[in-house]
């Protein structure tokens, strides 16, 4: 199962709008047959399409997370999600 790591870039962490955008993409992937999980390296993963599970990770700016995907196009989905996590979506909120 393909796995990638990413560093949370958003200054608020993986919360609020950045988390919403991330979960939105993971949700789209589920509808096209790819399931994605997210977790801290070496720890139990949660459903990446569940906003409550993603928030409960409490991931902050600079934290490293691991993403795994299963299904057709899993690599492309992972690449998109890693890109999403690597942008500071909250830069303007200072």
């Amino acid at each position: 199962m393909p796995t990638r790591t990413a560093v949370i870039a958003s200054s608020v962490g993986l919360h609020a709008r950045p988390a919403g955008l991330f979960v939105g993409i993971a949700g789209e992937a589920v509808r096209s047959g790819v399931t994605v999980t997210i977790g801290r390296p070496g720890e139990e993963h949660v459903n990446a399409a569940s906003i409550l599970s993603v928030l409960s990770l409490g991931a902050r700016q600079g934290d490293v997370v691991e993403l795994s995907a299963e299904g057709e196009n899993a690599d492309a989905v992972l690449a998109r999600l890693v890109d999403e996590l690597s942008v500071d979506r909250d830069a303007k909120a200072s």
């Binding site: 200054s11 599970s53 600079g62």
Partner: protein, 546 residues
């Protein structure tokens, strides 16, 4: 006529004042509708209802809150947990509530921003349960005149639909300074007092004066009181609108009003505003998460773009502030149990001096390319020796305005020695509070200890200013403290001469400073330091500044 209680006190949540009739509201009163068939049906209905409300929201913030609730109501794990509880014998109505509380508790355990989302999750649980039981959500009162809404607490979905022409003031018994009610009231410009116990019973049906600046609600106020509060608010509004340009006290002592930024885009946006420069440019965004060090050319280009945007105005760059909690993989820092007390800030230069040297060179090159002279400072300096070493390294690279951040108590206590070879100091109040009060900034449970009004923190600011005064070094503040207008007055009274904050905080700080003579600032500093705790420091200064 009773004269027992005429004023209730709460937390000032949204500034301004309003005089109107109070209407108490209990969202528990609902109308009967056809119940949802099952949990999935309830989810679909609640999502549809919230989307409908989002479309009618009175502010972009309101719409955003509702969009977040939509995601909670459709969350696959929340619904799966509720269904599994139905399988083990709970009623669907109880299962959605208990599943929502399970997630709400998890968020509470994480503290801070996430803990404040817990009531939203519970609100969604209650909406799902209502839908299963055939109860429609209660609507806001419509008494036919503008009114002050008084409730135990407002659910985000309710506040998002407030019409500021009708709901002219808000008082809640619960809530806090960062709850949704507060954020939305501020964005709509509705005066609000939150955390005001007993408000519903005391206020319902009465004429009230909501003073959202002081956090007070006056019951059946007389005309004199109404007039005095209203004229105070009007003056503040007028002065805020008139105050522009460089910051100064009422008697003309200059206090530079600067901004904190972390990217080139933010810097360019801030350059277009009425500010005197950048007081803190965080350079981490260039480094964070990188497996290889950014090229010298990329660094020069970035710093030059910032200097160009600000032209003649001051720009203070902070060198890389990495640590094991802000990982920069190419630095090769070890995992630490206690990142706040570990190898971070300037300390990373002991193993990777070359990275700091290249960054300083990039600042110098950017300076010669743009013809402007940046100020450069190092984070997390604890001893005179560290400050000396940084100063000589930076000067050797051709930089002329070299400073250090004061965010470790040892640097504040021994400021005269720590600052002996630098040109300026910038106090980072957020970290200084973390270290002075021994309270982790990442832990919600200890957040009250990190209040920027902590008298101990003010003592350390005073000590820094005293240490700097011998050589008349400029001392600035670039933490959260600088953005609070009353606290800004206190800081100036302690000897601070530049304040760096989020761009949106500048106008209010400028207006408040313009009304205070330096002698009043000094008096404010004295009363704040004489207080025993942050809350009494705040009230004493508010009283003094009127």
């Amino acid at each position: 006529m009773s004269t027992v209680v005429t004023t209730l006190t709460g937390v000032a949540a949204s500034h301004g004042s309003v005089h109107a009739r109070a209407v108490g509201w209990d969202p528990g009163t609902a109308v009967a509708v056809e119940p949802a068939a099952d949990i999935d049906d309830a989810s679909a209905r609640v999502v549809a209802d919230l989307r409908f409300r989002a479309a009618a929201a009175t502010s972009p913030e309101g719409a955003e809150v509702l969009e977040a609730l939509v995601m909670f109501a459709a969350d696959p794990e929340l619904l799966a947990l509720a269904k599994s509880r139905v399988d083990t014998g709970e009623t669907p109505e109880a299962a959605v509530r208990s599943a929502a509380s399970t997630y709400a508790e998890q968020l509470r355990g994480l503290g801070g921003y996430l803990a404040e989302r817990a009531p939203d999750v519970e609100d969604v649980g209650a909406r799902l349960a209502d839908s299963l039981a055939g109860r429609a959500p209660a609507e806001l009162p419509r008494p036919g005149h503008p009114y002050v809404l008084v409730a135990r607490d407002l659910a985000p979905a309710d506040t998002a639909l407030l019409d500021p022409q009708v709901v002219v003031g808000i008082v809640t018994e619960q809530g806090g300074p960062t709850s949704h009610t507060t954020i939305l009231a501020r964005s709509l410009g509705i005066p609000a007092v939150v955390a005001c116990p007993g408000a519903r019973a005391a206020l319902d049906g009465h004429e009230v004066l909501v003073d959202g600046t002081r956090g007070e609600v006056h019951l059946d106020p007389d005309a004199d009181l109404v007039a005095s509060v209203e004229s105070r608010e009007q003056q503040v509004a007028e002065r805020r609108a008139q105050a522009t340009g460089p910051g100064a006290t009422a008697d003309g002592v200059p206090v530079k009003l600067l901004v904190n930024v972390g990217t080139v885009d933010e810097a360019v946006a801030a350059a277009g505003q009425d500010v005197e420069g950048i007081g803190l440019f965080r350079t981490e965004f260039l480094f964070l998460g990188r497996t290889e060090e950014p090229e010298l050319a990329e660094q020069i280009e970035t710093y030059a773009a910032v200097l160009e945007a600000f032209g003649e105005r001051r720009v203070v760059f902070r060198t890389l502030d990495a640590g094991s909690d802000k990982p920069v993989p190419f630095l090769g820092l070890a995992e630490e149990e206690n990142p706040a007390l570990g190898v971070r800030g300037l300390r990373t230069a002991t193993s990777r001096l070359d990275v700091l040297e290249r960054q300083l060179r990039a600042f110098a090159e950017a300076a010669s390319r743009t013809g402007t002279e940046p100020w450069v400072m190092a984070p997390m300096v604890s001893t005179p020796a560290e400050a000396d070493a940084f100063a000589s390294l930076a000067r050797g690279t051709g930089l002329h305005h070299v400073g250090v951040m004061v965010e470790v108590p040892s640097a504040a206590l021994r400021a005269a020695q720590v600052l002996r070879s630098v040109d300026f100091a910038s106090i980072g109040t957020n970290d200084l509070a973390q270290y002075a009060l021994a309270a982790d900034r990442q832990l919600g449970d200890v957040a009250p200890l990190l209040d920027p009004w902590q008298p101990a923190l003010l003592d350390l600011v005073a000590s820094t200013c005293t240490g700097a005064s011998g050589r008349e070094l400029p001392v600035g503040v670039c933490g959260e403290a600088a953005a609070d207008p009353h606290l800004a007055v206190v800081l100036v009274g302690l000897g601070v001469r530049s304040l760096s904050m989020a761009p949106r905080a500048v106008p209010a700080v400028r207006a408040t400073l313009a009304e205070a003579h330096l002698s009043l600032c000094r008096r404010a500093a004295e009363v704040a330091r004489a207080a025993a705790d942050p809350q009494s420091a705040r009230s004493a200064v508010a009283e003094l500044l009127g």
